[in-house]
Symmetry: C2
Subunit: 378 residues, 2 copies
Amino acid sequence: MDKTRHLSILGSTGSIGVNALNVVRSFPDHFKIKYLTAQTQSDLLIDQAREFKPKAVVIGDESKCSDIQGALPEVEVLAGRHGLLELSGRDDIDIVLNGIVGSAGMEPTIKSIQAGVDVALSNKESLVMAGGLINALLEEKNVKLFPVDSEHSAIWQCLVGEDPADIKRLIITGSGGPFRSMKKESFQDITVEQALNHPNWTMGRKITIDSATMMNKGLEVIEAYWLFNLPEEKIDIVIHPQSIVHSMVEFQDGSVKAQLGLPDMKIPIQYALTYPKHFPQAWEQLDLAKISSLTFEAPDLDKFVCIRLAYDALRAGGSMPVVLNVANEVAVHRFLDGEIGFTAIPEHIEKAMNTHDFIQNPDLDDILALETWAKSTR
Amino acid sequence: MDKTRHLSILGSTGSIGVNALNVVRSFPDHFKIKYLTAQTQSDLLIDQAREFKPKAVVIGDESKCSDIQGALPEVEVLAGRHGLLELSGRDDIDIVLNGIVGSAGMEPTIKSIQAGVDVALSNKESLVMAGGLINALLEEKNVKLFPVDSEHSAIWQCLVGEDPADIKRLIITGSGGPFRSMKKESFQDITVEQALNHPNWTMGRKITIDSATMMNKGLEVIEAYWLFNLPEEKIDIVIHPQSIVHSMVEFQDGSVKAQLGLPDMKIPIQYALTYPKHFPQAWEQLDLAKISSLTFEAPDLDKFVCIRLAYDALRAGGSMPVVLNVANEVAVHRFLDGEIGFTAIPEHIEKAMNTHDFIQNPDLDDILALETWAKSTR
């Protein structure tokens, strides 16, 4: 990488955004922050802007706009959903890192691609909801999508230099979450506190619940389908509680490649920004002799109904993954708010999937309408 | 791979050679056997020649030459060391697979490179004894070397599409052999039968003993040094009793890539012949959920003295790895013949290393003279 890359970080105050700025801080000659966006955390956004001196920032919560303008007199400040979408469409950057949580991240991804900007994508909902549209746009605009999810980054790394025609299957690993060993009968008593207590990864609340229900793996299967252009029967899940093997690719000759690392999003975030290079970092080194044992088991689809629902949605195609995703968001927030129990999450999703008006080839307006409808199921 | 590749298999009746012919048999449109060579197994060589119809064969044991000529009237039959070296220097093939066991395989590798023929190298002694000469020749002749050892094939596969400058270290895995858990005090009582009983791999007798002493790993470190052009402090060994992870590469950002597979030489042999493609095979699939657990531990250099000797030889350079390798061959054969005990193997090697006349930059004549001298230590 010879020249400085100009970056936009969408969701800069979230878990992914903060890690991305740590990476940027390590390589001041390689990266320059041009844009930062946040939904509500205005204080952190101000601190980040003072350090990284972006040209513009977006605050989603419009009530905080004037505070930010006061604190950052030399920075252009945009606000609200409109501001986010306006900034996402700018083309004077080399790469945008989309670390927005949830379906709100989909439209910014599309705007960036339309602007011809490469996307480092942490927002998995973009592909889950609009994979067909996005892939068509990527081809039309000759834009590249770099996965940031640890699983998809692992697969991507395993495929460097390989011919996609040689892939036999992808093997997505999942920790199994905090309830891997719990009996199904006890699932109905799971509390929010238990579900937020992930054994390996420190992540946002929504994604942590998705790990507990294992919907996270389901969404990753759908994301992998669009990223790597493989049918669902070639995308498997294996449970790996230590979260050291981040995913694998099996080739036609039976050779399997895996990418490993300590469970820390820093590595996939940095790789998405430095690809195809591995920039040196003095992060803690993986020591397999110290870890001693890596274990693997088949996922229990009877217990983790969300995985089955995701494969069902992928097979059905069309509007089904949109509804799966948005209904899951609604159900997770209801669970987090104490309105429904843990086992009601998949029930809520399945009901939405079964009752919505199916569309075979949804366009963006259809997807947004489906999102609105699915949100109304709350 | 569009056109048929013409192959020469050196050591076709050995474990590697037989597996290579299984691969060739699977893809009759892609591979044509032009040459086969064997040391003593004339009956099997005749069977192979009848099936694969080579242009010429070599039998090392000259007393069997006329039998073979009688059985294969339409095939050119060469004999002895001279015949092997003559045939190794022919240039009317695309790739030679060198599956010869031991130091006898070194000169054929050099002859093939001098003839401008790419080499799929299973004979690790070639690089251990003459790595500097071979690398200079490869560059001069613009010839490629494809590793066949499962460990080096794994590293090679992990490096496809990567920039060698991004490598932090190589991690060579080893099963630890049959004596991994045995106390050091019991090593002096190890019998030939125990040492030949390898837990995972079916290999030749010499290599099986090298696995038991772990000299195999030491030789692999030296081989990796020449294949991947890395200093010895960037080549580590980790014990992995299940032999599923065949080796790993750690990159500068802490990302680790591993190549996995069932412990079967078919995969690396085929990959060396089909690189950069993975040709489809219906071999038994790796099922990590079934295997359940992969374990790792640090090697015990106090118990496995041969590993330390190999690192010492690599650091000393020059003639030292030549003597290490040949003295090891002598000691292993003496052990197999019941002349010395298991713990005398490293003692014999260390004595030879300490008493030989060190040469900093041995040429081929020096290496052959060192080989003769080290063989005389018997």
